[in-house]
């Protein structure tokens, strides 16, 4: 279980970083999405991995429970990354339609430090 989750986070992060380093907008956006999936799974795992346990503390008997806070954090992170992805798609689209070019670097006019 731990190996599976750790591998998933690692593979998602690695592919995300690879795609972010590409020069066109579309792979970069896909890469950012992959990275946000990776971080969501990672956040979920920070409360320790527990199977078949509710995120509720039972004060009458001693039953296993899972940490509810990471689930709340992941929910927030999912909403935010979803909204951000929508924003960047819109900005990238209007940039492409205006410039007729979807390169992410600004070699032509911005100089060496862009």
């Amino acid at each position: 279980m731990e190996i599976l989750v750790a591998t998933a986070v690692g593979v998602l992060t690695a592919s995300g970083i690879y795609l972010v380093l590409r020069q066109r907008t579309f792979p970069v956006i896909v890469g950012i999405s992959l990275l946000s999936y990776a971080v969501n799974v990672f956040l979920f795992a920070t409360g320790r991995l527990v199977i078949n346990a509710p995120p509720i503390l039972n004060k009458y008997e001693d039953v296993p429970y899972t940490d509810p806070l990471p689930q709340a954090l992941v929910l927030t992170a999912i909403v935010i990354s979803f909204g951000m992805t929508a924003v960047i798609v819109m900005i990238a689209l209007s940039s492409y339609l205006t410039n007729r070019d979807d390169r992410i670097d600004m070699i032509d006019d911005a100089g060496e430090d862009a």
Partner: protein, 525 residues
């Protein structure tokens, strides 16, 4: 509980949707509400500063859930100072924007400005690390809208870069928070500090990873050297009054470094000892050097000012990375100076750009050249840190703190970096200023240059102004009022150096007194 603390977040959060939903087609009403909101925020900020200056730390428990179970807002001297600084800068920016008519060149400027303020003020007030992330996202998503305000191909392309860079930063922020949560089981800053201090010294690897990841996030925000690449292209291509407002955003990064690496991972905490200062100090010195060289080499006025902002962040972070109370006091004084100066130089850059285009080449004399030239002269003095303005006092304080920090020979290196980069800055600003204002104008020579230098408007793709929003006449007088307002702020900061320094010294003592902070926030002895 003192409800004033939450007012700086609630007020813009109410005004912004009101502007979008009720008065989106009435620019005059939007301006009235936006200015009224910012004036009210200024009054609230003064009240909060007066309350905080007694030295008492006030805690606002949202939903009345006590820390560490609920989210808390914490008002201490540092956050009160930053809140007032933000509201003052935004007042100048909003007056400038109205005066120059920038808000009529695209839609929803005022609503985005209010959301941006909500995010920045929230980030300064919150006492919870995850809440800090959320406020970062609020201020970022508003800044994406402001960054591409009024559109244009180059601006949109720079906007895409800016958004991608910041989304990566946000992802990194979440990784850092997850790591810290996995180690400590809490995200409340005070509780985090208590748990970190109790951590056994032989089990700190994961915590150190989390602390460094967090530092990287704040370094992206603060544009520290290897992570500064987003800043010049973004600031130079954003509408320049918006860049003036963004002057506070780099300070959010500096504030977060100051807050986290004194109160949570303090210099006296065994688990993270020597982790941050050793890396941050060289990076800050290189940031300063790159900023100064960038000023020398800039070919465009927006870019010149962006490198000026980077250089002042370098000086500020040198002071922060000493991690001594004296260094922190100097850093806070310099932070006020640097925010006002960065706001001022971007407003001046916009005054120049509106009249003659952005390229630093000879050009026919522009209207009001005398007034703008004298503003540029004074702002350049402030930026370079020459007497008599507050930049000089600030740099002196930073150098003084570096001498007393007990760094041995490193002191000389810091002094050399600060002094030499000041010289380079003066040369660079003098060069740019003499070309902009003095260089004799040769019509035959310049016409060639102008054809590439002036901003080209692509007729095919230009965003048509909304017919419902009839563009009002610009009021240049108001623009100058805003610029001179910031200038008066700098003069006051210089004249009142003594009281301001007393306040920042008390602030530094307060943030280094971790026990009092924990006691107040967690309500335990």
């Amino acid at each position: 509980m003192n409800h004033w603390i939450v007012a700086p977040i609630v007020l813009p959060a109410v005004i912004a949707p009101f502007i979008i939903m009720v008065i989106r087609y009435h620019l005059d009403l939007q301006r009235i509400f936006s200015v009224a909101s910012i004036v009210a925020l200024n009054i609230i900020a003064v009240v909060l500063l007066m309350q905080a200056s007694t030295g008492e730390i006030q805690v606002y428990e949202l939903g009345d859930w006590p820390a560490p179970f609920g989210i808390v807002l914490v008002l201490d001297r540092l956050s009160a100072m930053m809140v007032l600084l933000t509201t003052l800068l935004s007042l100048a920016v909003v007056l400038y924007v109205i005066g120059s008519g920038w808000d009529a060149r695209g839609r929803h400027f005022h609503a985005l400005l209010q959301f941006q303020l909500m995010g920045v003020l929230g980030a300064f007030l919150t006492g919870d690390a995850f809440n800090l992330f959320v406020f970062f996202e609020v201020l970022l998503i508003a800044s994406y809208g402001l960054m591409i305000h009024s559109g244009g191909g180059k601006r949109l392309a720079a906007g895409v870069q800016y958004v991608v860079y910041n989304l990566l930063g946000s992802t990194l922020f979440l990784f850092a928070l997850g790591t810290l949560y996995a180690v400590t089981g809490t995200l409340n800053m005070a509780d985090l500090a208590a748990r970190v201090a109790e951590l056994p010294a032989d089990d700190t690897a994961l915590l150190r990873v989390g602390a460094v990841l967090l530092l990287l996030v704040f370094a992206i925000k603060a544009a520290v050297l290897p992570l500064h690449f987003w800043l010049p292209a973004s600031y130079a291509n954003a509408p320049l009054p918006v860049a003036a407002l963004f002057a506070i955003m780099t300070k959010v990064g500096a504030y977060a470094i100051l807050r986290f690496y004194t109160q949570v991972f303090g210099p006296d905490v065994a688990a993270t000892e020597g982790l941050v200062g050793d890396w941050l100090l060289p990076a800050a010195m290189l940031t300063l050097a790159v900023g100064a060289i960038g000023i020398l080499g800039a070919k465009e006025i927006g870019r010149l000012m962006a490198f000026g902002a980077i250089a002042s962040m370098g000086t500020l972070l040198i002071a922060i990375s000493l991690f001594t109370p004296q260094g922190a006091a100097a850093a806070m004084y310099y932070m006020i100076h640097s925010t006002l100066t960065a706001g001022l130089i971007f407003l001046i850059a916009d005054l120049i750009m509106e009249r003659r285009g952005g390229a630093i080449v000879p050009h026919r004399p522009m209207p009001q050249i005398g007034l703008i030239a004298s503003l540029y002269f004074v702002a350049a003095i402030a930026l370079a840190g020459m007497p008599p303005l507050s930049g000089f006092v600030g740099k002196l304080l930073v150098m003084d703190a570096a001498r007393d920090a007990g760094l041995g020979d490193t002191t000389w290196v810091i002094w050399a970096f600060i002094l030499v980069s000041s010289l380079v800055t003066i040369v660079g600003l003098a060069r740019a200023g003499s070309i902009l204002f003095w260089k004799s104008y040769d019509p035959d020579f310049v016409n060639e240059l102008e054809s590439d230098a002036l901003p080209k408007i692509d007729e095919e793709t230009r965003i048509e102004p909304d017919p419902l929003e009839t563009a009002p006449e610009p009021m240049p007088a108001l623009s100058f009022v805003a610029a001179f307002g910031l200038l008066i702020g700098l003069v006051l900061l210089t004249v009142l150096s003594g009281p301001v320094l007393d306040y920042t010294t008390a602030t530094a003592d307060q943030i280094f007194d971790r026990a009092a902070y924990l006691e107040t926030v967690l309500k335990r002895p």
